[in-house]
């Protein structure tokens, strides 16, 4: 489990526009930035920036198609992020259990 990558995934998905982009790629399959701009209410330039952030988090990959790049979702890093959530959650549950024992004395 790579929890540095998990941080990037959370940061990437923390933005609602990026979540919309991920949603479109999930529903409609691989899309170009132009096609995404037709579906998400921001400029094509903004879409490209968001795609870059998603790519840096390992969540999208691209392949050249003619003059444009076509982006597809690569969801594996979400599993890392989920693992981080589960193990960090377990850590907090242990801390809380210890606190409860302390106050029970």
């Amino acid at each position: 489990m790579n929890d540095k990558r998990a941080g990037r995934v959370f940061a990437a998905l923390g933005d609602p526009t990026r979540r919309q982009v991920v949603s479109c790629l999930t529903d409609d399959g691989p899309l170009t930035a132009t096609e995404l701009a037709a579906r998400v209410p921001v400029s094509r330039q903004a879409i490209t920036k968001h795609l870059q952030t998603l790519a840096e988090a390992g969540l999208v990959a691209s392949a050249r198609e003619g003059r444009e790049l076509r982006y597809r979702l690569t969801p594996a890093p979400m599993a890392d992020a989920m693992s981080w959530m589960v193990s960090a959650g377990a850590e907090w549950d242990e801390r809380i259990a210890r606190l409860k024992r302390i106050f029970a004395r």
């Binding site: 929890d3 540095k4 998990a6 941080g7 990037r8 995934v9 959370f10 940061a11 998905l13 923390g14 979540r19 991920v22 949603s23 999930t26 529903d27 399959g29 979702l73 969801p75 979400m78 599993a79 992020a81 989920m82 981080w84 959530m85 960090a88 959650g89 850590e91 907090w92 549950d93 242990e94 801390r95 809380i96 210890r98 606190l99 409860k100 302390i102 106050f103 029970a104």
Partner: protein
């Protein structure tokens, strides 16, 4: 596979919105709870690390974990008897002196009294590198 990705994304978003969040009511007076959360000597009893440092904004607290790994956090805000916020610094030091990059998360404790005990909200939120620099 993509349908699962959509589900995972929604779950992650739900997690992210709630961050890592635990709300616990302790059967103890608020000042006792606050002391456990804000006094490094007491903190060490439950956090899972030996803690040294003063909990004041701008100061650093140093954690030594049972396996010998050391990590520091920067205290961001303290509202006595109400809330404490600190942020992990982005590296840890192993027993051989080597350092390793770690993700930055912000931890918050919020304390309030209720009719049935002292409520503490524990939050841990993963920060992006850009925001971590703030």
């Amino acid at each position: 596979m993509l349908a699962r990705a959509g589900l995972a994304c929604n779950q992650l978003v739900a997690y992210h919105r709630s961050m890592l969040r635990r709300e616990v009511v302790f059967d103890a007076p608020a000042d006792e709870v606050w002391r456990a959360l804000s006094d490094p000597a007491f903190f060490s009893d439950w956090f899972g690390a030996h803690v040294v440092g003063s909990l004041a904004p701008g100061r650093q607290i140093r954690f030594t974990f049972p396996d010998g790994v050391e990590r520091a956090a920067a205290v961001e805000d303290v509202l006595p008897h109400r809330s404490l916020i600190f942020r992990w610094l982005p590296f840890e030091r192993a027993t051989d002196g080597s350092t390793r990059a770690r993700p930055v998360t912000r931890i918050e404790f919020h304390v309030s009294e209720t009719a049935v005990g002292t409520l503490v909200v524990f939050i841990e939120r993963a920060l992006s590198e850009a925001r971590a620099a703030v």
